[in-house]
């Protein structure tokens, strides 16, 4: 399927644990910054899609005060209350109909300063059971997933240290990331405290403030706006059961289903051979190989070897999260779009210290829910 929609540009904040701003100011600065970069005004934008979360913003209909600062005053705007990569998918559909030439996507999360990120998952949980039994939270659920994954393939906890060390050293090279740790090593990761075994603090994402806007454009319009359009080649999304007790937490069927949809559109039959770089929303170290397997980028059971060999490093055969991924920063709602932005930087050859050698096709992943219940996959190409 020829989607014929491209990323014309994006603008993101360097992530922080305390971004001293307001939702409105950040939104205004993000969109006006992008308009300036592209030499356009808000009148050049056909439609707007916002991805924020009311429970994190502390407001009902949290987009009502964002329409004007993003530039949507007296314009068409809608809101996808999920990870921002889903909003990108919706914006892309709107352009695909031919009704709009351009679409601006906004997503941000203020879970560094304003609100605890762990409430996000608390409010997702079944209030008639999980919230009453009070056993599960985001971190304990992630730990159960980590244990399930490690046990299934007989990996030791050191695999998590290895993954986190790789991600955090990548993140230290990327000015957009929050966690900038010097001299990161497996030992240093292992020296961080257990939260829920086997997860240690540095295996988990940090509470983060950050935001991003992305402008999508139809093929022709994109070529007018930029010399370096990055094309959306495929996209897919899917969902798993709610109760973690009903799921095999060592695999992610919904990621596999989402990837299949995206790969079918993009004409990818051999992801390991055809994908050059992957940016995955792995909120916890264990999720990176788990999701990479579901994306068809890693063979099941080989994670320990592959990570030890350096194949997933920036200069490896299949770099995974060369930006450092969400272990570097996770502004909830914006994270999937940050992955997209990092992939676009790679495909444009603008990733500086994080640049991988060959980057023509990238896979980008976003997630929502307890233990990545819902997953979205987008394939980008030059």
């Amino acid at each position: 399927m020829d989607i014929n929609v491209a990323v014309a540009g994006f603008n993101m904040t360097p992530c922080s644990s305390d971004l001293v701003t307001t939702r409105e100011r950040m939104t205004f600065e993000l969109s006006s910054g992008l308009f300036d970069d592209l030499g356009i005004t808000r009148d050049d934008v056909g439609t707007y899609i916002i991805a924020t979360n009311d429970f994190l913003d502390g407001r009902t209909i949290s987009n009502v005060f964002l329409d004007a600062p993003v530039g949507a005053y007296m314009k068409d705007e809608s809101k996808v209350e999920m990870d921002g990569l889903n909003a990108l998918m919706y914006a892309c559909m709107r352009i695909m109909t031919g009704q709009y030439e351009t679409a601006l996507v906004l997503a941000f999360g203020l879970t560094g300063y304003q609100v605890s990120p762990y409430l996000h998952i608390d409010y997702i949980m079944d209030p008639t059971y999980d919230r009453q039994v009070k056993l599960l939270n985001e971190l304990s659920a992630a730990a159960l997933q980590a244990r399930c994954y490690l046990d299934k393939f007989g990996y030791s906890e050191e695999l998590l240290d290895e993954i986190a060390a790789k991600d955090l050293s990548n993140a230290a090279l990327d000015p957009y990331q929050l966690r900038q740790l010097s001299d990161i090593s497996k030992e240093k990761v292992k020296g961080s405290d257990y939260l829920y075994e086997p997860l240690r603090e540095l295996h988990c994402y940090p509470p983060t403030d950050g935001g991003i806007v992305v402008l999508l454009a139809s093929g022709e319009k994109a070529k007018e706006l930029t010399d370096k359009p990055v094309w959306i080649k495929g996209m897919g999304q899917s969902i798993d059961p709610y109760y973690i007790g009903d799921r095999d937490l060592s695999v992610s069927p919904s990621t596999t289903q989402a990837a299949k949809r995206a790969y079918d559109m993009a004409g990818i039959t051999d992801p390991k051979g055809q994908v050059d770089v992957a940016e995955i929303s792995s909120l916890f170290a264990c999720q990176e190989p788990l999701l990479a397997e579901a994306l068809g980028l890693l063979d099941q059971g080989r994670a320990a070897d592959v990570y030890a060999s350096g194949d997933t490093a920036i200069d490896g055969k299949l770099p995974i999260n060369p930006s450092g991924g969400p272990l570097g920063a996770h502004p909830i709602c914006a994270t999937g779009l940050l992955r997209m932005a990092e992939a676009v930087r790679q495909l444009r050859g603008e990733a500086e210290k994080n640049q991988v050698a060959k980057a023509e096709t990238a896979v980008v992943h976003g997630q929502d829910g307890v233990c990545a219940q819902q997953n979205v996959v987008v394939v980008l190409g030059t």
């Binding site: 701003t21 006006s32 502390g58 005053y73 304003q114």
Partner: protein
């Protein structure tokens, strides 16, 4: 239909640390100490906002051009309240209105006093009645009254 049991949950807004824009609002509050109202004007389209946001909604640019707006204006719409915010009946009906102050493009909401409900009409001229003692609080403005 068989009734099932009820359990509780909460959205813990008390744990939030909110930041909201304060400059335009503060500008107005400060000016009120002198029984004046200050807002911002968009340098591009000329729209005057009071209290002002930091940007113009129409032109999508930062604005910082301070202007004073009049404390006289026109009733654009009004309502006569018979119940309080909880829906409890009020002892006496209470008139409140939206006013477009002269020299300002945004509307104010406030109590309309010193007039019988039956005599209120859209388009009537009103002015702000200021408190004698003003401290830079919304309480500095006692009510709108007929001009």
């Amino acid at each position: 239909m068989e009734e099932t049991r009820e359990v509780q949950g909460a959205w813990e807004l008390s744990t939030f640390k909110f930041r909201i824009e304060g400059d335009g609002f503060q500008l107005m509050l400060n000016s009120m100490k002198d029984a004046k109202l200050k807002g911002l004007k968009c340098q591009e389209c000329g729209t005057v906002y009071c209290p002002a946001p930091f940007y113009c909604r129409k032109c999508h640019v930062f604005i910082d051009d301070e202007v004073e707006v009049s404390d006289h204006g026109e009733v654009m719409t009004y309502t006569i309240g018979y119940a309080d915010v909880r829906g409890e009946p009020l002892d006496e009906p209470r008139v409140s209105c939206m006013v477009k102050l002269d020299g300002c493009d945004t509307w104010f909401m406030g109590v309309l006093d010193e007039v019988e409900p039956d005599d209120v009409h859209i388009g009537m001229r009103v002015k702000l009645k200021w408190n004698e003692e003003r401290v830079g609080s919304l309480q500095d403005m006692e009510a709108f009254i007929p001009e």
